[in-house]
């Protein structure tokens, strides 16, 4: 159910994101989604990749500070109000979202939304009970 997201700590330095992407490319790792959270003087790069294990190994080898987090990728209908429908369920069930970002998958006519919940287990159950489809990790990632 859960998808593995990789976070990389990046100091504010030119070319640092490029270095990460180049490294993953060299290891034949595809990035499906990417998001950057920035703070004063540093940033955290969040990625969903097709080969998380290999990506972590490559990053660590190059000395990056990286870690893995469980997130949920939720299907959102690609029409006005589609995201609102999902958020309504999240809100009425008082699920706490730490952050979220969007991405798309090839061969899909639906939008996808990544959610980091403070309690992913509970969130997954609640969303499914409300007929919201969650992408399985095994669909897009090698274990």
């Amino acid at each position: 159910m859960k998808i593995n997201q990789i976070s990389v700590f990046l100091e504010n330095k030119e070319g640092r994101i490029y270095e990460v992407c180049e490294l993953l490319g060299a290891h034949d790792i595809n990035i499906d989604a990417l998001n950057i959270a920035e703070s004063e003087g540093f940033g955290v790069l969040r990625m969903i990749v097709n080969k998380p294990k290999a990506a972590m190994a490559a990053l660590k080898e190059k000395g990056f500070s990286a870690n893995q987090t469980d997130i949920l990728a939720v299907e959102v209908e690609d029409r006005p109000g589609g995201l609102a429908d999902v958020l309504r369920v999240i809100s009425t069930n008082q699920l706490n979202v730490e952050y979220m970002y969007g991405f798309t998958l090839r061969k899909s006519d639906r939008a996808l939304m990544v959610f980091r919940f403070d309690d992913p287990e509970k969130a997954a159950k609640t969303l499914q009970a409300n007929q919201i489809r969650i992408i399985r990790g095994s669909d897009i990632q090698e274990s």
Partner: protein, 436 residues
């Protein structure tokens, strides 16, 4: 030029008489010092049992030096020479975590300190008609309280506002017609820059003089402050180990700081060999207290570099003049008037398990003020992926530095292995400040 004195008899005392006074009080100081566990041992080692063993000022020069590390080792009471009930005040340095230096004062000691400040204030031409705004921090830092009591005793109207809060400073300067300020040179430049923002016209202020202290500054900085403000600036020297400000003060002639030699013996020595330097030759300032009962200090190595200015001053004072401070012979940094050793910063940050192996201390000028940035590598394993955890770490480093060494730096977090690494002796301090 009209020369005023606070205590003419002492300030213009004949040199020979002054030296006799020094010898007598030196003997008393050694007697007091022998009451402390530290000096009993230290002086005992060189065969001194009482002040009578010092028969001349040449004998004095054979006594061992006292260092800042000695003071730290004496924390809290090994240098206390009076019974505790006689002490009326304690000042400590910000010090390394847990080990500051401490100076006790009796009421008489404080009165002597105040007297020296009075002499300095009056020597710069101030009178009871002046309004004195004390823009130095009050509290354990001696800059605030030191000038405060002297200014009150002279009869000036004192505004004890302390440091910072520039808008309020300017408002009070305007509303109460402040004529004299006590301030660090960098803050003095900064306040001038804020005049427009505060909507205060220079012409609406009555400012005539500034006592600048707390950080070494060049003659060019003095001239610059004098020029932009249209005031006279007088250099003021001191350190907490020697009470605080007032050890030396510039008179109207502005040709160096008169060191009050009835209260202190001034020596300039070679920082390496300890050999005495000639007048005019730069060396380390070494001071001995002559009248302080609670914490006598003998041949204290200040680590400040300066020289004695040869010849007599036109003002008629016989107390020798010392140049402005030309530098330090240790790695102490002075950031907006606050003394900091890199080792203090290191001790605080390297104690934190979240911090990696390397750090760097960067000092720059931000306008006229000093800006301290501490770059810290994070420990890779603490990165959970959450931005809030990293922010919390940054906050924690700032809070720990604030609590332990009373500084408020900018903390920058870096990736492990990204800061310059050193083979051999690390150069972790980058000081990019250039003289204005």
């Amino acid at each position: 030029m009209e020369i005023n004195y606070w205590n003419k008899a002492v300030e213009t005392m004949d040199r020979e008489q002054l030296q006799m006074h020094q010898l007598k009080h030196l003997q008393d100081t050694v007697d007091s010092a022998m009451k402390t566990s530290f000096y009993k041992k230290r002086l005992g080692k060189v065969g001194i049992t009482s002040g009578r063993d010092i028969k001349s000022l040449d004998d004095f020069k054979k006594l061992p030096f006292t260092s800042k590390d000695d003071l730290r080792e004496c924390y809290p009471n090994a240098l206390l020479a009076v019974s505790k009930d006689e002490a009326v005040r304690i000042h400590t340095s910000s010090g390394t975590t847990g080990v500051p230096t401490v100076i006790y004062h009796t009421q008489e000691d404080l009165d002597h300190w105040t007297e020296l400040v009075c002499r300095g204030i009056v020597s710069s031409g101030c009178t009871r008609n002046d309004v004195f705004q004390n823009m130095m921090t009050y509290g354990m830092f001696t800059g605030g309280l030191g000038l405060h009591y002297g200014a009150e005793r002279v009869g000036m109207t004192v505004i004890p506002i302390g440091g910072g809060n520039t808008m309020r400073q300017l408002k009070l300067m305007k509303d109460f017609n402040t004529t004299v300020i006590h301030i660090t040179p960098s803050y003095c430049l900064h306040v001038h820059e804020k005049l427009a923002e505060a909507g205060v016209a220079r012409e609406s202020l009555s400012l005539k003089k500034a006592f600048c202290g707390g950080e070494p500054h060049t003659e060019n900085i003095r001239k610059k402050i004098e020029e932009i403000w249209g005031i006279d600036v007088y250099n003021c020297y001191g350190m907490s180990e020697m009470n605080g400000p007032g050890v030396g003060f510039e008179c109207l002639c502005k040709t160096g700081l008169h060191i009050w030699e009835d209260n202190y013996i001034l020596e300039i020595v070679d920082p390496q060999s300890g050999r005495e330097m000639e007048d005019g030759e730069q060396g380390e300032v070494v001071l001995t207290t002559l009248l302080r009962k609670a914490t006598p200090l003998i041949r204290y190595r200040s680590r400040d570099l300066a020289h004695v200015i040869p010849g007599r001053c036109e003002c008629g004072r016989t107390h020798r003049r010392m140049s402005r401070i030309m530098g330090r012979c240790d790695d102490m940094l002075i950031i907006n008037g606050v003394n900091i050793y890199p080792s203090q910063i290191e001790e605080v940050i390297m104690k934190m398990p979240e911090v990696g192996n390397n750090y760097q201390i960067l000092v720059e000028k931000n306008g006229t003020l000093d800006k301290l940035t501490i770059k810290v590598e994070i420990y890779s394993k603490i990165f959970t992926g959450e931005i809030s955890a990293i922010e919390a770490l940054k906050h924690k480093i700032v809070e720990n530095l604030k609590a332990n060494i009373i500084i408020n730096p900018v903390v920058e977090l870096h990736e492990p292995g990204s800061l310059p690494a050193f083979e051999g002796k690390a150069k972790r301090v980058v000081d990019n400040r250039t003289s204005i």
